[in-house]
């Protein structure tokens, strides 16, 4: 043992862990390596079919962005020790609220977007308070919310419109300005890049900064790694958890707004399975399922891998049915690799 534990032992020189070693122990290291490997694989398999072109890149980055926005928030929540399975349903609900309020009730599009945001915040608060006050596992609480929100979305939509899809939003007031913010393209390198990619990158930076450089960011792994301990030390644990649940719900709202504004319509089934894809991205990104350890950058990279695989398979001409198989395999591999890395992180001295 190189750490001196007695006052009488010779003092050990202060020497930080070597930079290379420290980099290798970062939670997102596996995801960085994974992203490079996946990119190389598809560069070989589908490089001549457009995967490497600017257009191909913009294509998979858009897929990555829509999952990434969700995954970053889910990562913070999972570091805080909780799951949110209700985000997929929240995407469906928020999309429908925007579509119904603007198309059926003639609200200004922006007002409808804000109304959906309010509902998302409420969903997050309910999730957070129920989990915190009952002490039930968030897996169960948000699983219940998953079905309740989806069921209510379908029920209410059919009650009001008689259908399960609402379209024709493009002519409405306020839609055009919303399109600029949520669904425009940026022309660069001879192709169009979805603005959602910018949202994704900005949110990655903000979340990483919060996690690594703020007081709140220190509380997140604290609450996730030892709830009672954090509470004893004066961390406002209820506030932290509720805030994190609100973040995931708001991320779902943002994804919903981007989708509805891109398509000009909403479907009650939007966002199905997104909660699981988000967890896959987060875990590939090196975040511990049990909380207390992880990275927002890792989750963003997990989403990047997800996008590359989903679109890369299509570029490579492989039947898209195989996507889920590959996804599951990668999840398993990521968990095993991350566990190995983490055991090194604890053992290193």
């Amino acid at each position: 043992m190189s750490v001196s534990s007695t006052a009488t032992a010779p003092a050990v020189e202060h020497s930080p862990t070597p930079l290379l070693k420290r980099l290798l122990l970062k939670p997102e290291m596996g995801a960085i390596a994974g992203a490079v490997v996946v990119w190389i694989i598809f560069a070989i398999l589908a490089g001549d079919r457009g995967f490497l072109s600017a257009r191909g890149t913009a294509n998979y980055l858009e897929v990555s962005a829509e999952l990434g926005i969700l995954a970053i928030a889910v990562a913070l929540l999972m570091i805080g020790g909780e799951f949110d399975l209700s985000v997929g349903s929240t995407i469906g609900a928020c999309g429908m609220i925007i579509a119904i309020l603007s198309a059926e009730y003639g609200w200004n599009y922006w007002m409808a977007v804000v109304a959906a945001l309010v509902v998302a915040v409420l969903i997050g608060v309910v999730n957070g308070i129920v989990v915190d006050k009952t002490g039930l596992p968030s897996f169960i609480v948000t699983l219940a919310m998953l079905f309740m929100i989806r069921g209510a979305t379908i029920g209410v939509t059919r009650e009001i419109t008689g259908r399960t899809q609402v379209g024709g939003l493009k002519e409405l007031s306020g839609f055009e300005s919303a399109q600029k913010v949520f669904a425009s393209d940026i022309h660069l390198f001879g192709t169009n890049w979805a603005i959602s990619i910018v949202w994704w990158l900005v949110l990655t930076l903000v979340a990483t900064w919060i996690l690594l450089r703020t007081k709140f960011g220190n509380w997140i792994p604290g609450v996730g790694g030892g709830l009672q301990a954090a509470r004893n030390l004066g961390v406002p644990t209820t506030r932290v958890k509720v805030t994190l649940f609100v973040c995931t719900a708001v991320a779902a709202w943002l994804v919903a707004t981007i989708q509805v504004t891109s398509f000009g319509g909403a479907d009650v089934l939007r966002g199905t399975y997104r909660e699981f894809y988000a967890i896959v991205a987060v875990v590939i990104g090196g975040t511990l399922l049990t909380g207390g350890y992880g990275s927002a950058l890792g989750a963003a990279l997990g989403a990047l891998i997800f996008g590359m695989v989903q679109q890369g398979i299509i570029f490579a001409g492989i039947d898209a049915d195989w996507f889920q198989f590959v996804l599951g395999g990668m999840l398993l591999a990521a968990v095993l690799i991350n566990r190995f890395v983490r055991s090194r992180a604890v053992l290193v001295r």
Partner: protein, 289 residues
């Protein structure tokens, strides 16, 4: 820290009782901890030690009796209230997050910040420096304060937890079984830090059921047994053996002594028989075939 009045106890509980439903957890217990002293709270499992420290640390109030802090009666409604007055508790789980770094753990819940508004941030450089300094003052040298707490040994973690409480302005330090899970050598290290905390003028309340850890360092001993107190004794007034006897209840210990003697006698018989069998076997081996 203001210079405390040494004659007045830092913390005093007068004739405290606590019930959980029909269960009597504590009855008519009094204890007084002074600055610059180690007050050992001794007792077997279920004696009421945990209940007593939860009252002192503000987790719940007593049902009867008085809580006096620096001469003034107080009533705490949460551990935060106690903490604000400098009554800090180091629990058995140490309130450490294994996968977080030492300095992040050190400042969890009381992070130093710099900057303003949306750019207000956790001052990590300050945290690293202070953590290293404070641990150094306690005689702990860590190679890198950014290494995870999971890399530290049990005794080191305990010491970091104590150093953190002291840095956060603890005037009264409650240590819940700090040596329970430690080996002999590690326990010695922790006892040394307790002595250092005392030297800094802190009132230490040291909870343990191990007399051999308590006796060398304690100035006063309060012995609990099944929710009642045998009273408080100065070290000069009591021997180690007397403390042990009171802790377990003298009668029971005497019985135990007899039982152990009985075991020893049976063991002795068994050993003799074994030796006899061995000799017999030896003899058989040498018999002509």
């Amino acid at each position: 820290m203001t210079t405390p009045d040494l004659a007045t106890p830092a913390v005093e509980l007068r004739d405290i009782s606590k019930y959980f439903g029909t269960v009597v957890a504590l009855e008519h217990v009094s204890i007084a901890a002074h600055y610059g002293e180690v007050h050992c709270l001794l007792g077997d499992n279920g004696a009421g030690k945990s209940t007593l420290i939860k009252i002192i640390s503000g987790v719940f109030p007593p049902d009867r009796g008085e809580y006096v802090f620096e001469g003034n009666p107080v009533r705490f409604s949460s551990p935060r209230d106690a903490l604000d007055r400098g009554i800090a508790t180091v629990y058995q789980d140490l309130a450490m997050i294994p996968l977080m770094s030492i300095s992040r753990n050190f400042f969890l819940g009381s992070e130093p910040t710099k900057g303003w508004g949306p750019f207000k941030r956790f001052d990590l450089e300050f945290a690293d420096r202070v953590t290293r300094e404070e641990l150094g003052k306690m005689g702990i040298n860590v190679r890198d304060t950014q290494q995870s707490v999971g890399t530290l040994s049990g005794g080191e973690r305990q010491s970091v937890a104590i150093a953190r409480a002291v840095y956060n302005g603890a005037k009264v330090l409650i240590l819940d079984e700090p040596t329970a899970a430690l080996g002999v050598k590690e326990a010695g290290v922790v006892l040394r830090y307790i002595a250092q905390a005392r030297a800094r003028g802190i009132a230490v309340i040291f909870i343990t059921h191990n007399v051999h850890h308590a006796y060398p360092i304690g100035d006063r001993f309060t012995i609990l047994n099944r929710g009642t107190s045998y009273g408080t004794f100065l070290k000069t007034d009591v021997t180690r053996e007397q403390v042990v006897e009171m802790m377990a209840g003298g009668q029971e210990l005497e019985e135990l002594g007899h039982e152990l003697e009985e075991f020893a006698r049976v063991d002795g018989l068994a050993a003799e028989m074994k030796a006899g069998q061995a000799i017999a076997a030896e003899g058989r081996a040498h018999l002509p075939k």
